[in-house]
Subunit: 413 residues, 2 copies
């Protein structure tokens, strides 16, 4: 495998996440695929833990996705268990892949005293290989001995594949006067074009929220966070985003997602979701530029999103930005190929603070030198105003570079 | 601009095209963008010439596309004129871009004695610059002096942009006992995901066919030829495919596209269309592998085509093949992300003659060594059987390599 160059957007210091009451966890080196690093993360939630999730819409989903969607519907009064591995995504591994999950779940029931059908799985890594259940099962007793409340950052490291840095985020909020915390971790960094959530991300809180509140908050806040990023237009078979609440905070249980007491929590949750989503893009395979695409003036918000994704997924736009070339003609092409309503002569395009094109023509004030100089920034803002309505959307992506090719031309070998 | 490496699929010898009665042509070096090469090709069709065309569905089309769609509807008893340039695509160049076409058309009327509104334009090259009309107009008198019937190959060279070889094709047929000829030329080689036709292609014949027959034959034969190829998923603003008949052949005019006398002609036309379409892929920017994707067992032909394009446009599938990696897990992902009906456990996937996966599992007969050895071929065949119905489609594409990035990160500069 190609040695990965650390993303230029890697934070100089990874923030440390504090424990969240009600959750204990541990990691292990099972050698499923990678050597000399952790690749298994197990999280134990105290009885009463509520979990909500959104999953990939890819129609060939991994076995863990199929299993976990069902597991979330299992009535469970006891503790919860989340088992996450990297290395093998356990997609299209035939009966062995399906059996592996059943075996691990049954083993979890014995070791952790949890209901096997309620165990939640998430796997990331190569597609087309069955997970080797024995590698995981043999580590479960040790993990059970070593469960500890301070393992969020370790988890973020264990779930990495081609990620060049662990992605963590934390925020705090207040519900009815009681402080609550939110921790989140995520992984990228290729096959990222979430149609429900990105590959894997796990958010936890001690807030006392019903499962329907959790699911509602997840659904309503994923659209403009994880579902507004793309690295390479390829929607993974394993996308999984979980929101878990231990419900240990000493406020009355909130059962209504529109309860005003949730205002501070929702703000904090949105911060964590967006922070993690942007970290995934900023570690996009081979990234040299982080690109924010702001669409406005579209006929609707959903139209704006389709146009934004068409620009973000265009290999020609992405390579132009990699080459620090303000090739706005390719942006026009990508707007037009989206199939959404657009009128060439009403379009206006800005790059950074500079208006490049308007009224179907290059801007009178266009100054090639200034724009060329702007293109050398690591952060590139593109704004497209369709001039048709009030629809808007922000999309976040990265450029397409030689390093993306290097990483993906020999990832499996 | 990056020096282009010649495609490994470039033919060792470019076939020479013979003249077609009724057409004369010439090329010129106007210096619109490129130096020391031809960039203008003008074709003069004798009175009675019939022309049909299909154009890009990109909603921000170039001015030449908008103009030419209208020009095809102009009643014209006199000669026809086609003006094609490379270097500047004349898209989004504001009023100057629109005016340029009007000025050149008026000049054509004076120089060639054609009806200005019937002149057909096609331009390819950078988007976002207006065509400089004077550069073309100043060469028109010279071109008129030098019109000659033997200029098809010269035309194929003049319309190249990042193409590494000229694309020509020829075939002959018989209509009611009278021999007729077909010549065709095309250009690629990036921004290729035709939604109507590829960037530019011009087919000519001496057959005596009505314009409605021409249009019908073009529409019914473009779907599984030019509309079944993709290089990089980006649909150009300038796609134009014309079929021109000088009608000089001595058979009775054919007015019915279903006339059995057309059988031989249709066969020859399909040969030329497919030959040119595949040549465009085989000169796809940065190509190292030519990939044929055969989809069968889908619910419908259109579903098969969507699935085939989803695989063909997946950067992860394309980079895996560039790396000679039989990463069929990415094919599963691309099938699933297409949104079309698919059932993981009914899918079967073959690479070359080798069945890789079936029944939701890796094939019992899978032999990594044989498949790895197959992946070193320049021509890669992928077959996906959905196992659901009778729908099928063939899609043609190329891999995604470092050279694609090099070409496109500094194309404009």
């Amino acid at each position: 495998m190609t040695k990965l160059k650390i993303s230029p957007f890697a934070p100089s210091e990874i923030p440390s996440l504090l424990p969240i009451a009600g959750f204990k966890m541990a990691t292990a080196e099972t050698g499923i695929k990678y050597k000399n690093r952790t690749d298994l993360w197990v999280v134990y939630g105290c009885p009463g833990t509520q979990i909500a999730g959104v999953f990939t819409k890819n129609l060939c989903p991994g076995y863990p996705v199929v299993w976990s969607k069902k597991a979330l519907t299992v009535k469970n009064e006891g503790p919860s268990l989340l088992v996450v591995n990297s290395g093998v995504a356990n997609v299209f591994g035939g009966q062995r892949g399906k059996d592996a999950i059943v075996k691990i779940a049954e083993s979890c029931e014995r070791v952790f005293d949890v209901k096997s059908k309620s165990v939640i799985f998430a796997s990331t890594g190569v597609i087309g290989e069955a997970l080797d259940a024995s590698k995981i099962i043999s580590h479960l007793p040790d993990i059970n001995e070593n469960l500890f409340d301070d393992g969020w950052s370790n988890g973020a490291e264990a779930i990495m594949t081609t990620d060049t840095y662990p992605k963590v985020s934390t925020a705090s909020a207040v519900i009815n006067g009681i402080p609550v915390k939110i921790n989140g971790i995520a992984k990228g960094s290729g096959m990222i074009a979430p149609d429900m959530a990105t590959m894997l991300s796990f958010i936890a809180t001690d807030a006392n929220l019903s499962d329907s509140v959790l699911q509602n908050l997840l659904n309503s806040n994923v659209q403009d966070t994880f579902n507004s990023i793309t690295v390479d237009s390829d929607t993974s078979t394993s996308d999984t985003l979980l929101l878990m609440a231990s419900c240990t905070a000493q406020h009355n249980k909130v059962n209504d997602p529109y309860d005003p007491s949730l205002d501070s929590f929702i703000k904090a949750l949105r911060f964590v979701l967006k922070d993690l989503a942007l970290q995934v893009v900023k570690d996009g395979e081979g990234i040299s530029k982080f690109i924010k695409i702001k669409i406005k003036g579209a006929l609707s918000n959903s139209s704006a999103k389709v146009i934004g994704l068409s620009i973000a997924n265009s290999p020609l736009v992405k390579t132009a930005i990699a080459g620090e070339d303000a090739n706005w003609g390719r942006i026009v092409m990508a707007v037009g190929k989206s199939g959404e309503s657009a009128e060439r002569d009403k379009l206006s395009i800005s790059i950074g603070p500079y208006t490049i094109a308007e009224g179907g023509d290059i801007s009178k004030d266009y100054d090639e030198d200034k724009v060329s100089s702007y293109m050398q920034n690591p952060n590139i803002d593109l704004t497209v105003d369709l001039g048709l309505g009030d629809g808007k959307a922000n999309i976040y992506t990265c450029d397409l570079t030689h390093d993306y090719i290097s990483i993906n031309a020999d990832y499996r070998s």
